[in-house]
């Protein structure tokens, strides 16, 4: 199985180098990749139907617990076949739809990347590797939505989609880590037995929140749904493959997969049912207001995803089976409708349903496919859609709470979905053909055969539902349902309530189709409500956030050095002050300190005068001279404390520094301009407080007993071991010689810097 997953990645890589060959006729060959995988997975049907589950595991990063573990059970097989099956058809379709496009090879590359990632996702037994594949699908989706990268709205849609699914991805990461921490492993198959431990743990709610967030963003649940209509800017094959059949189902898959692990009762049911129901109805209603074929299909997809979440929320075996069947139903009819829309767009140049009519005269096979697809979508017997619809009603009717309400919601949604299917699959082909479309002809069979295949499959499965029953439904129910009871899928259950509900749905659907017509007037009406649409609100929020960011950043990043320094000093004062005064005692034991002599006091006075003069004088030269005085006072201090080496060095450095300053001052104006009074006061307060705090700190340090082990060693051994009587020099060149070596390097670099700064003056225009 690892090979199956890797095949797509490898093909993608291959295309990086050999891509230019695949833009023309050879493009068709790339469909061999998904086709071979489809056949490969078909071979597993006998095993899986008998209830077996296949495991494979490879170590990857064991230190993180992230391994490439794969499970093939009913659910995984269903998705795998869908991914590879629809994939093959989409690959075929693309070779004609985007024929000779300059980036066709890149398109196939991204498509393969996506397919491989999606396969990896559904086959994953390790929650962390599932996450990895999840993120990879988001990234490939980003590239595919933005495929028409020269168009600004494509780019924008890609960004929005990535943003929303990206948040979801991060939430999934958090959820996965947390869940892994609670159970001690990332292997989903091992988590199955630990449901109670999970639901009882204190982190259960947080895990649920995170996993739900991930699933809802990926599968376009309200209010995170709006990225999906935007994603319709992508080329049709992308909309077909990613945004109806596979990627958007990833969230549903996650919930499905996690049902036996996380289903802890009421919270699970309630949240999923509520969110699913709102999504279902909200987007179904939106269908009425759309005139772009892809828009209609997008909203009906969102609604379908809502149904799936809704069903998983109900969570009974019946509901899960309904969900499994509905996944197949939806994939078959939605993918076909998208492909058909693509053909219409490709041939007529428009997707505006108000302008399309009578195309059956020029695109007959497409019309047939469209008609069957509409039947499936509406749940008309004998298609699989009918079976699916029945199962949905069965689950809602038999649910313990609010069965009637749920059923009403389900019926309303299905009516609208019926409407959508017919508007997209039948309306463009009915009626009178406008003159401008008379010259159209059928495109390459590569384009209309795939939808035909899928719709016919929908018909066949409807007539023989046992095919679905044994291959998917039973194995899925066995692994995912809480309690398993045997069942059979049938086309005809006899005259009962459910049949009645189905009939009502169909009748209402037909009525709606003939009474309501999509129109631009309707579209404009709903646009007026845009201001409360989640998309608009989110965009306003992000704009507001950007404004806030500008304020915040510019508040701090003023460009003035004095602000930066003030902030640092203020921060230090805050921290030091807090700590020093947290246990402050005024009593300082002065007895341990040496007596104050007249020499020290006079030096201190000189120092003080020098400092005050430096700060307050307006003349630069005087300030430099005063600084010199300060330096010389330090020399004297050193001298008095028996450090002649330091005194000499300080004295020499001071002399040189004053000379340097004077040389430089030659170029500067003679007098300083002081900044305004308030600023100086503020700075003065900061500086003085800082100084006071440091003084208090030093006084406190002096109270601590001193450890003289090291200094004694130096004093004792300077002559004995280092052949020197001057301890200071011995420390400099021997004991701590490395310090000196590097300090002289610092001097050198400084000199180089001065030299470079003064000798090399680049003008901006002869830059780099």
């Amino acid at each position: 199985m690892l090979g199956a997953v890797l095949l797509g990645f490898l093909f993608s890589l291959f295309l990086v180098f050999a891509g230019s060959y695949f833009r023309g006729k050879l493009a068709v060959l790339s469909s061999l990749i998904p086709l071979s995988l489809f056949v490969y997975f078909l071979t597993f049907i006998p095993e899986i139907s008998s209830g077996e589950v296949i495991y494979e595991s490879y170590e990857w990063i064991p230190s993180f617990g992230v391994n490439l573990s794969f499970t093939l059970d009913g659910l995984a097989l269903l998705f795998a076949l869908m991914i590879t099956g629809v994939g093959s058809l989409v690959f075929l379709y693309t070779s004609a739809y985007l024929k000779d496009h300059k980036y066709l090879d890149r398109f196939y590359g991204y498509l393969s990347l996506f397919m491989a990632a999606m396969l990896g996702l559904v086959l994953s037994d390790n929650l962390m590797s599932l996450f990895i594949f999840w993120e990879l699908t988001s990234i490939s989706s980003f590239y595919l939505i933005g495929f028409n990268n020269d168009k600004a709205d494509s780019r924008k849609s890609a960004l929005v989609a990535l943003g929303i699914t990206g948040i979801g991805g991060l939430l999934l990461l958090g959820g996965a880590v947390l869940l892994g921490d609670v159970v001690g492993t990332y292997r989903i198959s091992e988590m199955l037995s630990m449901r109670d431990a999970i639901t009882d743990s204190s982190n259960y709610l947080l895990i649920l929140l995170l996993i739900f967030g991930a699933a809802f963003t990926k599968s376009a649940q309200f209010p995170f749904h709006f990225w999906l209509p935007g994603a319709m800017k992508a080329p049709t094959p992308v909309s077909t493959y990613l945004h109806s059949a596979t990627m958007v189902k990833a969230g549903v898959y996650l919930l499905f997969r996690m049902t036996p692990v996380l289903n802890g009762g009421d919270i699970w049911h309630t949240v999923l049912i509520v969110v699913g129901a709102i999504t279902m109805i909200y987007s179904a209603v939106h269908i009425i207001f759309r005139t772009d074929l892809k828009g209609i299909l997008a909203y009906s997809t969102i609604s379908a995803l809502g149904i799936l979440v809704f069903l998983i929320g109900i969570g009974t075996q019946a509901a899960l089976i309904a969900a499994a069947v509905f996944i197949v139903v939806h994939a078959l009819y939605k993918a076909s409708l998208f492909l058909i829309t693509g053909i219409i767009d490709h041939e007529t140049g428009t997707r505006d349903v108000t302008q399309l009519a009578g195309l059956r005269k020029v695109l007959l096979p497409v019309a047939i496919a469209g008609f069957i697809a509409a039947l499936i979508s509406g749940g008309v017997p004998p298609t699989l859609g009918f079976v699916g619809k029945d199962l949905i009603y069965e689950s809602t009717l038999h649910f313990k709470n609010n069965a009637v309400l749920l059923t009403i919601i389900a019926i309303s949604t299905n009516v609208l979905l019926f409407y959508a299917g017919f508007v997209a699959g039948v309306k463009p082909f009915m009626g009178k053909l406008p003159k401008k479309f008379e010259k159209l002809h059928l495109p390459s069979p590569l384009m209309w055969v795939p939808p035909l295949i899928m719709t016919i499959a929908g018909l066949v499965f409807g007539l023989f539902p046992s095919l679905i029953e044994t291959t998917f439904a039973k194995p899925i129910a066995m692994t995912q349902a809480i309690a398993f009871e045997d069942f059979h899928l049938k086309l005809w259950h006899g005259f009962n309530t459910i049949l009645g509900l189905s009939a009502i749905t169909l009748v209402l659907g037909v009525v709606l189709y003939f009474t309501l017509k999509p129109s631009h007037a309707l579209e404009n009406k709903i646009a007026k409500l845009d201001f409360i649409a989640p998309e608009v609100l989110l965009l306003k929020l992000s704009e507001g956030f950007a404004v806030f960011s500008k304020y915040w950043t510019n508040f701090f990043q003023t460009g003035y050095l004095r602000h930066y320094i003030s902030i640092v000093v203020a921060f230090l004062i805050l921290l030091l002050g807090y700590l020093i005064f947290s246990d402050f005692s005024l009593e300082t034991d002065f007895s341990t300190l040496a007596d104050l002599t007249i020499y020290e006091i006079s030096i201190l006075l000189m120092l003080l005068m020098g400092v005050l003069y430096t700060v307050f004088t307006k003349s630069r030269l005087a300030a430099v001279a005063a600084l010199g005085v300060v330096g010389l006072s330090f020399s004297l201090l050193f001298l008095f404390y028996s450090a002649p080496d330091l005194a000499m060095t300080q004295f020499s450095v001071d002399t040189l520094t004053v000379i340097l300053f004077v040389l430089v001052l030659y170029k500067l104006p003679k007098y300083l301009n002081f900044s305004n009074k308030w600023l100086r006061m503020k700075h003065g307060v900061l500086s003085v407080s800082f100084g006071v705090l440091i003084t208090l700190l030093i006084l406190r340090v002096l109270k601590e007993p001193k450890n003289t082990e090291i200094s004694e060693f130096y004093a004792e051994n300077a002559y004995k071991l280092a052949h020197g009587k001057n301890v200071v020099n011995v420390i400099l060149v021997d004991f701590r010689g490395i310090d000196t070596m590097i300090e002289i390097s610092v001097l050198i670099v400084a000199a180089l810097g001065v030299f470079g700064l003064l000798k090399l003056r680049l003008k901006t225009r002869d830059k780099k």
Partner: protein
Amino acid sequence: MRTIILKSASSYLLPVLLLFSVFILLRGHYLPGGGFVGGLVAAIAFVLDAFSNGLDKTKGILKFHPGFFMPVGLMIAFLSGISPMLLAGLPLMTGIWADNPIPVIGAIGSPLFFDIGVYLVVIGASLTIIFTISESV
């Protein structure tokens, strides 16, 4: 600044100060002094000469650009630091000493050469900085 007094004083002071700086360098291990102070004194000597006789004349005395002293000094210091590694298998900057001290200078060892390196670097760096600044203003 180029008064006669300063000129004549500096022509005497320069060699004296230079000798003094070497003296400070060599006695550093036993009495206050050492490479840093020695180098600074030598630098000040040259600066005094530059003030009194003009920068170009001082540069003439030096014969090459003071910047050349820096890598030379650092090289000497570097070699004295790694010589224990190369010659005796001892760690970096270990002091290796000759057995008998020489009169006047004292014990000869790698720290002495290191100090000489420091001396040269300090002269080179200070003079580079001061000369560059005076040339540019």
